[in-house]
Amino acid sequence: MEFLNPAALYSLLLLPVLLIAHLIRRRPQRVYFSSLLLMREFAAGTSGVRSGVPPIFFLHLLLLTLLLLALAEPALTSRAVNIALVLDNSASMQAVDDGQSRFQAALAEAGKILRGLPAGARVDLYALAPHLARIGEAGLRPNDALKRAAALKPLDVGEGTVDHGAELSQLAREGDYARLYFVTDHPAEGQSTTLRVITVGRSQNNLALTSLQVERAGLDAPRLEARVEVRSFSNAEEKFQLNLKAGGKIIATRAYTIAPGKSVDASFDAIPAHPFYEAEIAADDGLPLDNRRFAVAPPTDGIKILAISPRPGGLDSLRAIPGVEAQIIAPEAYRKGNFAPHAVEIFQYSAPAALPDASALFILPPPQNPLVRVADGAASPIVTGWREGHPLTRYINFSLFRPSYARPLKLGPSGQAVIDGVDGALAVALEQDNRRYVALGFDPLPFLGQRNLPMSIFTLNLLQWLSSAQTPALTTGMPLNINLRPGDSLFRTNGDKVEPQTAALFQGIYQVGAGATRYLAVNFDNAAESDLRSSTPIRISEAPGADGDRPLAALLSPYLLAIALALLLLEWFINPRPAGKAA
């Protein structure tokens, strides 16, 4: 005989409580009476309060024992019991509760479950992040599963928006598991005979570094500036120290106070040049993982632009922009491929057949272009709207922004309008595969500097935004689209080689190729995981026929419950009830 839920056997420790309850119940009730004169004689004749326990106690003992044994789900089965153990190894499991991480607590709970399984049980071990997948081979023995689980580490990856309850129920059905244990930091709602959720961790306050941007102060400015955003997932006002590091050394530090649920923006100007930077919050909060964030320095040399135009003279003014190196060619030359790779390509009155491999600007593209549809043009268009906060619209006074001619753009399946006119968009931006594309329905060139300040600012915004796509922000859990050349590998800053798949799971700075100067910053970025105050509950519903696959005939619980019910009825008949309350 085996127990499918052996942890319930600990409840047998409750049996002495029954004895105590009986002894307390048999303690005589204290009642006042006018005079005991008449009771002394026959009180001596009776035995007074009887010692020991009554026979009904043994009936109660048997009844309770049967119920507790039924909880342990004894089963007479010769076949191996299939158990699935799913460990939540997402980023929030790195949160520390009382000196122990949630993942360590989850491992302890998993140990309890696995050690309590019968010897013949077979365990399939699953990890939740980055997606639900089995660890090791199927049908592990409990001890082997325990060793496998102990070797797991929580990833720097947040959970997707998957309905874990449905996903795990489906896994339990497909795997024909007698029990599926899910150890996580999410609470559970609902009940299921198969799916058991064991919740670890508690609500905590947390601060998170949600952004670190290192940019050049201007297109030709060698100075770098860093902008940091810290967000509070706390119910109380918090104080913290923000450190900016370069090369492992603190280059700037500041102290802040942040209100509950608010965010703080910090800006560090004129920071020394370094290949990569790290921002760090020195605070005693719940999740250490999101207290660090990494960024790679932008290239310090000028922007190399390949300009393609049937009228190359119109692009000459690009060369007047400080920090810009422009190579201007005709569309025919572009089609022949007679050019070196550039960071940014500008197509004026022309367009390639497909989106180029570099970030690109399309100025008044022809109708046959891969980005937008172009309508008929009109003179002196009016700007009716623009996207606030977009890098392209920063610092521009749109009341003075007056292109002389424009052709409205119709949005394609992707992209977003940045500047709107009366008849359609005047500027459309698209980010795709770490590249940025902009289509303009007007011509911002020639670059006139201070003579047309709004348009000049817009042009500089364009060039800066397009060029900054070279250092894309990479997020853990997302595929690393870094176009590794054959033979290239990723290395940590300490020289350890890392597979790209692994690098996508842990935040940090990675070097592309040994000794190379190209760096990647991979950061954890998941507000739901950083918010440790409340976790989304896992909704469990009993799937129809969930019990149908289980070896019901081998389970003894129904029989134990039936016997307990019979004993309960017997107790109902034979247990004398007090006739009334004493005076």
Binding site: Q29, A43, V49
Partner: protein
């Protein structure tokens, strides 16, 4: 406004009653009760030889005609009654609650007192407690209000010895009369015998009313009990079942039988009142039947 059960009808019916005494009483005021002294009533008592100075109206001229000797007729003196009503105020009288035992006992005492007051006799209430308070003598039916006020001040408490308390009260009694003792008498026989003997020694005509609550007659207990005495720290562990209930009832009946037997042997009127009975029925039917009233 009199408290229940002293309704106008009940009081009217009490006024037609008069306490019966087995003994002659002493007093200086004319009344309706026989005195050992010779007096001016209509009831003939004896003859005495004529002495000079006797009132010739009392000379029995028939005897003089037959024997040629002068005898004068003597008559009984009839005086008013002094009644002493003793109320047991020990803690046991408050069980299970004063409303269920002590107040009914006080009402019996007040009803008997009203009978005395309505006949223009004297009555005085004595509380048998450690402080031993007693009311003044009252006379006249209106003084029932004073007696009600007196009983309202009483509350059952303590465990005074019945005989000792009674002895202290009797020190202040100088006239023989009617003594009525209202108590539960759940005390050792020696104790109530001592108390009743004290009353007898003072040449009082004694009546006892035993007051018990229904809970004492038929305790509604069940199961294992730790019974605590209301007057002493004594406690008893008991398993209250049918056998125990039977044994208790037999013991109570034997105790009451012994009390009644002792009263009978001592010339004391005895009656038992269980507090859930109608008070008017007890006073107007049971007590007359036992000869307490004329």
């Amino acid at each position: 406004m009199l408290p229940p059960p002293f309704s106008a009808d009940f009081l009217n019916r009490l006024e037609v009653l008069r306490l019966r005494t087995r003994k002659e009483v002493l007093s200086n005021r004319p009344g309706a009760y026989a005195s050992p002294r010779r007096g001016m009533s209509l009831e003939f008592a004896d003859y005495r030889k004529y002495s000079p100075g006797d009132d010739p109206r009392y000379v029995d001229w028939g005897i003089f005609a037959r024997s040629d000797r002068l005898y004068v007729r003597l008559f009984r003196e009839e005086v008013d009654l002094f009644a002493y009503v003793f109320i047991d105020t020990s803690a046991s009288m408050g069980f299970p609650s004063p409303r269920e035992k002590f107040i009914p006992a006080c009402n019996i005492a007040l009803a008997l007192s009203y009978v005395v007051l309505a006949n223009h006799d004297h009555v005085r209430l004595h509380a048998l407690s450690e402080a031993n308070p007693a009311s003044p003598f009252y006379r006249g039916r209106n003084r029932i209000l004073d007696l009600i006020d007196f009983t309202a001040m009483l509350s059952p408490a303590g465990a005074p010895d019945l005989g000792a308390s009674l002895g202290k009260q009797l020190k202040n009694i100088h006239r023989p009369g009617k003594a009525i003792l209202v108590s539960d008498f759940i005390v050792p026989p020696e104790s109530y015998r001592h108390a009743l003997n004290l009353l007898r020694a003072f040449n009082l005509d004694i009546a006892t009313v035993q007051v018990l609550s229904r809970v004492e007659v038929d305790p509604p207990f069940a199961g294992e009990l730790r019974l605590a005495d209301s007057e002493t720290p004594e406690e008893l562990n008991l398993r209250w079942d049918d056998a125990t209930r039977r044994a208790y009832r037999e013991r109570l009946e034997r105790h009451n039988r012994e009390l009644k037997s002792y009263c009978h042997q001592s010339g004391i009127r005895y009656s038992l009142y269980v507090s859930d009975e109608e008070l008017s029925d007890f006073v107007l039917k049971t007590l007359p039947a036992m000869g307490l009233f004329k």
